[in-house]
Symmetry: D2
Subunit: 339 residues, 4 copies
């Protein structure tokens, strides 16, 4: 049977979510997220913060990004993103569809820093150009890197000094926060940003992202924007169930930790094999291998070809909470025979 | 315990859907709707048609409406709808957000007919006005009425004569087709329209609508529009599961029939009580009652107040497959004591 | 030679504008409206107000409407208009193109009143509907009627009570203010609205509308919106020239008065001919005549057919400052021979 | 008196345009571009092409760009531009406001070539990314460079091979075609592109750009898009006048030639002064000079500071048909004293 390293959204959901679904299956519920399950999920989330937060749920990352950005920006205001940012590269123009320009900062690893932002702002000075009004960043980034506390604080400071909104795409926030290299807590993500979301889809949920802001003004009328963008589920409680389960007994962090632990096993094994690669601190690892090796690995393992380079290919290996040590060792063993 | 007549989207999902979820819970799947479960669901749907259909899945009605409409219209083209149409009244400007005007035809019962459309077209004759390019109708309508075959054929003919696209919102297509007053089949819905969707959310699914068109050209690149509108789930198979279950052993029609049967029981009982009301052929019934009676009913039954009229109120009673004869009789008995 | 009653935008421009063009023809000027001519025009406009105003210039009505509306509304906010409003009927979906819904109030004469607005607001109460945030009205209306001071004050009060923006389309503000039935001044138009524009195109200019607001916050960044909407002329001074000329020696009001005087002559003459019609207080008059009479009149006069009614037609006669008593009398004489 | 090298849109208009304005000043005209003057302008333009062309007029470059692009692209289709392209850098997000992404190709001189385009296309292969559907280029570019015939043909071929639309922004087409380095005719611009415009604003007109396409299908309903974008002037004949004058006796080319001749004088003079700079073949020249020299020149000459480099500045000198040899020599003489 194939072992799946393809991505972190290939399973139905964590058992605990299915269990909760079954537990409430005969309940009747109020629609549009005004039900008690959704309320419970919000309360569970609130316990992770030392300040009042406002929470809304949406089904996926792209719709969350376009809703948050268009909710907060005026027509002539733009969002700054790394050139590798999901909103610029992998959302089929979803942000532009709402009328907003994305200003990209060239970035190899998907991270941007405070001085990048300052340099960018200098170029936008008159009414022939849009007004940069938001910084968008992903934690973890598209290629598995993370922001540490000082980097985030610096970005937040430059945002505040320049009247910018700092928005964090947390589609993979779980693996970012539980990475052994992370020095940030969920509470601090809120302290050092204006609005962010916690990704459920890539962390064991069937679907769902939780938008969180500490600013009541940003939350106001957000439901109108969610509805207008087509993101208000009639059965909103389906989303509530995901997050009630994920934030009961810290399941969210447990799922993410397991994914990272599997990644660590993989990284350590690869190092022992003296494979030349740049490990990431989260659940995505990128290896450049001979095409013939890649072809052999394909027989037993599923993964994405990230890039082609003549006789070689870069492959992406994503570990999730579903993988285990036996599977990782199997991969390493098979690889060791090929190199 | 309260008996729920509030709406048709208050339960988690039909047992069969939960069963299928559990059955596949350890499978690993390809993302973005390219998985085998979704494929299977599409095949099951195809069996209901005597011609080739193209199917896509989305999470809910509003996002389906905005995606289909913006996918098919040029910027200066508009959609014709009944003034009571969901797209005009209950989607927070979602269609306008995509840049398109809705041309409304005054309608009390939510239906429009061929001559309404012709009269409307006459008013749009030059470049100071938008070009009407699509007819949008709901079957069943917002207030539970249905189109019969000759009405639909007439609308389709006027559409074809005027180069219009006929788009059917089938959020409640199940109860429309299984109504005892209906003379239409699912196959005929496709024959006499250009594109339509089958609502899962209000017919036993956790979420999900199936967009169907017989025109390859309309299907082309629809996935791009779905993604751009934020409607492409990473775990697309969650939607596939809904429709695989609904279209196995005709569950979809069974769920809808049960809702209609419960409505029939209610209607017959109300007639025997000599309540003055206008029954509908589907699962929504509207009663105008004294406010004091409404208040008494509220103690044991959940329903929506549809309209206020001084000393009276119109209430909406929605029956679903979850209701049963005992509950209906209980309501009728309680009502009989109050009038 | 044909006498033109077709519309108020058929001549090149008033002589004074051409004179000013020639006077400055060898000047070199700063671009994008930051020149001294534009400044001078703004100063001349300011003299008509007892409070500070902020002025911007655009080329025409549709682009002004779409720019002002999209500049001031959030995505889920909508504008209330008479069902006959220019933005709803004659702008090819320009407002919807910016993402905003127009909420129409049925109106025969193109006017709306405070109680219409209040009744409308009651219907928009939750997140399934847009939030009405602006009242749009035209003065004069599409069919030549005007608002008097008490009507405007009432509308402004309902706007303020409900946190709405009152926006006046003044494409024909000149004839409205100089109508003998008007009790409003230009200053009062600003006092009892939030933002409005003064139409140049239909009042002797080659092109151009002046957007005026007393609110600095509404003016802030308006140039960004103007540019984004494609309305910022490189040679902005061309617009400055129009308004410098129009507001030197009150030419703007003189042009409008002359148009109204010609309309009065026409109305008085028609009354003497015992023609049955409903006169308007401005420069547009509507007559319902036998088709054979209309056909005869067409030989010597240009006008628009406003509506067809079997054997009769309603024609629109627009008088401008270019018409004179001889021409009006000629029309009346010809008509008198036909009836 | 200051000599103006600031830009090519600082004068009111060429004498011939003012003459024509005066000539027709007492005519009455049909609105919205359906008048005889506009017709005459279109006929004059047609004489420059060996194939049928379709022409529309708009007021300026930004609104033309956004109208053409949104008229021709589907929502999920994007336009490819040089990173220095006017649509990306200087239009305040006007293209994104219509919902479309701009894909930029890094470019120093503002030019893109066929292999740039091919390489870009390879990166857009699935529904997570937009579909590149149009190539946008400017001739002359933002920095005064031009495309030669073989470059344009190569781009057009890559466009046709990949089902892309080739759209040329001709805001400065006059100086491009009349450059002594150009081997292209106006007819060939149409042959080797799908749609383009001829800039009037920067070539002696008061305002106005002429959109030209050889494809009837692209022209169809373009007036609807123009109106929806707010670009349909009530007094459309004002635009007709500009182009009737410009294309009578080849005035358009004469104005552009004069601007280029003045540029040549400047370039030759600068070479004799042994100034180190990279001449362009059109009416914009860029010089990097010591800040103290720039400051001295500012006393008698107007120009833009294009870039700051510590102790030096790059200035842009734009020559127009209004400049003459005496003024150019004066500048060269003053500069020679400073270096």
């Amino acid at each position: 049977m194939m072992i799946n390293f393809r991505n972190d959204y290939n399973d139905i959901a964590h058992e605990a979510i299915l269990d909760l679904l079954l537990e409430v299956k005969d309940q009747s519920n109020i629609g549009y997220g005004e039900d008690v399950i959704t309320d419970k999920a919000k309360q569970l989330l609130q316990t992770h913060f030392d300040h009042k937060i406002y929470t809304s749920f949406m089904v996926g990352g792209t719709i969350t990004n376009k809703t948050v950005i268009s909710h907060l920006l005026k027509p002539y205001e733009a969002v700054i993103s790394a050139s590798t940012g999901h909103i610029d590269v992998h959302e089929t123009g979803a942000i532009e569809q709402t009328g907003h320009k994305i200003i990209t900062i060239d970035s190899v690893d998907g991270k941007i820093n405070a001085s990048d932002v300052k340099r960018t702002l200098e170029q936008f000075q008159d009414f022939h150009r849009v007004i940069p009004k938001m910084i968008y960043l992903s934690n973890a980034t598209e290629t598995g890197l993370i922001y540490n506390k000082s980097e985030l604080i610096e970005l937040y400071e430059v945002a505040k000094q320049n009247d910018l909104i700092l928005f964090i795409d947390g589609a993979r926030l779980g693996v970012a926060l539980t990475s052994k290299e992370s020095d940030l807590t969920l509470n601090e993500i809120s302290l050092y940003s204006d609005i962010f979301y916690i990704g459920g889809t890539k962390n064991g949920a069937m679907l769902g992202e939780a938008i969180i802001t500490k600013h009541e003004a940003m939350h106001n009328n957000l439901t109108y924007s969610i509805k207008q963008n087509g993101g208000l589920l009639a059965k909103g409680f389906i989303l509530g169930i995901q997050f009630q389960a994920l934030f009961t007994n810290n399941l969210f962090f447990e799922i993410a930790s397991k994914a990272n632990q599997n990644a660590n096993l993989l990284v350590e094994g690869l190092k022992q094999l003296r494979i030349d690669f740049k490990p990431t601190p989260t659940n995505q690892q990128f290896l450049r291998l001979k095409k013939s090796i890649v072809d052999s690995l394909k027989k037993n393992y599923q993964f994405e070809i990230w890039a082609d380079h003549d006789a070689e290919q870069t492959i992406r290996l994503v570990t999730t909470y579903r993988r285990n040590e036996v599977e990782i060792q199997s991969f390493l063993r098979d690889l060791s025979k090929l190199i």
